[in-house]
Symmetry: C2
Subunit: 322 residues, 2 copies
């Protein structure tokens, strides 16, 4: 084999992954065979999410490789979080313009840092030549029957969101405008924090959950569609970071927070009897939990500002149009 | 949402997949939530393989979309076959230059035709904008402890291969030379037949197994490395299709069969006491089973022609160099 070929990259990934994470007892066979061989705990259902990040579509071309690695795993962990799953294993399929060990090492710095945080093992994948593209499949598990779904919201449920909204979209808009992104905002774009612990805790609290990746209004729309309900949102209570408040007008902020996307927060519906439990969960995790509206009858997602209907200029972020 | 956006493509994939395959009882939640929710049968281990195909790297640009769809799933099913796994579920992450419903429908024609043959359910994925790239993750299961691995070959085992070798590489070489590929050869390149049933049967027969994707010598090398053994191959007994025999000199044929890759046959090691069982398996499945050599002590893979050492001009197919 050549010194820079596919096999050496896989060997490098395997060595780095083993050093960073050690081994999990439930991995009978990891990187290096035709497939991984895994032991699901008894009484659990398997949860599988897959998402691809492409250069210039999902991240600016000059994004640091470590940030790309972090984000490629984070967006998938966010999907597991939205199901209330415990992360277990992932695969990584990596297309690179050329075999660049230094780039790969930096990429793995970010990827493995997040993997170690969540105890998820990298168990397989492939590397190949092509335009920069990263496909991660993340596997987790939940107690049978207890997964959070989009489809369980009920009329009169409260609608909640974790953390703050709009920072990632703000960083992207600054970058698109040709300037440097404010570092605190850019960190939210490049290093989203998947709400895994909160998702797990919500399996006993929430009726329905989704992660905010396309933009709040679009994702609330998905949750409502799946549940056969509508929602009424109070735009001016949407949680914003101090930096977002300081740097943008209220009109711009509303758009970034409702339509920007890339937040990777959880949006969930829960009975009003759960308010104390949710507040306590926020206090325990140090993550703000904000009640942003209510589930209503019908099928419409209404946004209100000062009690009047409000519409953002565009809705959601669609990777084929956005 | 726009009429050609990501969400419509996902809806189209979901509708087509449901029509083609119906539903599996072990899919609690398929396409349409944040992640799939799956029920692994009791007493089974999970088997996971992932592989990406990129335009111009893994298939010629003008390849028919239906063939691309078939092959994207086939290469992953071949990995499951090499583990002796029963296919169950897959995810599809699709990057497209633009949202083209006609292209997607043709792609799904091929993908779903093979999925239906093997009863594997498409349970999730994403579509996004980018250079044409298809990442499939295939999930199957095996009885706990019974998976075929690369690492179990023993000295004095016979080495076997299913089917015939070299046709796909021959088609690729014809295409690279600028001519049309012979259709019978091209079909082997575009529509490989993963040896799933044979792989399952081999769990009770073989000591070690690998699928032939990089080229026979490279893959026998992987099997030997994992097993800590060597191998001695008789090049002139390697099984060839009548078309390959008719169209190429013996010298070219040897290279295509040992180093070409893309065969997606199984190569396996088994005790000589299993010869009758293997012959019977070949008769039952209608797939030729050919004894091509022997596992020996040491670490070297030796190729013999008329009893003398023979070396191909290059070894294996490396997607970063080949």
């Amino acid at each position: 084999m050549s010194g820079n070929g596919e096999f050496d990259l896989v060997a490098r990934i395997k060595a780095r992954a083993t050093t960073a994470m050690g081994t999990r007892e439930d991995v009978a066979l990891g990187i290096g065979d035709d497939a991984a061989l895994l032991q699901l705990p008894a009484g659990r259902q398997l949860v599988v999410a897959t998402d691809t990040l492409n250069e210039a579509v999902h991240f600016p071309v000059e994004t640091a490789p470590a940030d790309i690695g972090w984000k490629a795993l984070a967006v998938n962990l966010s999907d597991l979080a939205a199901m209330g799953a415990t992360p277990a294993w992932c695969t990584l399929s990596l297309s690179l313009h050329a075999a660049q060990p230094a780039w790969l090492d930096a990429f793995l710095d970010g990827f493995l840092a997040l993997a170690v945080q969540h105890g998820i093992a990298l168990v397989g994948g492939d590397t190949t030549r092509g335009p920069l593209s990263i496909c991660v499949t993340a596997h987790g598990h939940v107690e049978t029957g207890s997964a959070l779904r989009r489809g369980g919201a009920r009329v009169d449920d409260d609608l909640w969101v974790t953390g703050t909204l709009g920072d990632a979209a703000a960083a992207l808009s600054q970058w698109r405008a040709g300037g440097a992104s404010e570092p605190a905002l850019r960190a939210r774009l490049d290093r989203p924090m998947p709400r895994v612990d909160i998702g797990r805790a919500l399996t006993n609290i929430a009726h329905a959950c989704i992660d905010v990746s396309d933009g709040l209004l679009a994702d609330v729309g998905h949750l409502c569609d799946a549940s056969g309900v509508g929602a009424r949102l109070d735009v001016d209570v949407l949680p914003a970071s101090p930096m977002l408040e300081a740097m943008f007008t209220v009109e711009t902020r509303r758009v970034l927070q409702t339509s920007g996307g890339d937040d990777y927060e959880l949006c969930f519906a829960a009975a009003s009897s759960q308010r104390d439990a949710i507040t306590a969960l926020g206090a325990a995790t140090g993550v703000p939990m904000t009640r942003i509206g209510r589930i209503v009858a019908g099928r419409d997602v209404e946004s209100l500002v000062d009690g009047a209907h409000w519409h953002p200029p565009r809705r959601g972020f669609d990777h084929f149009n956005g």
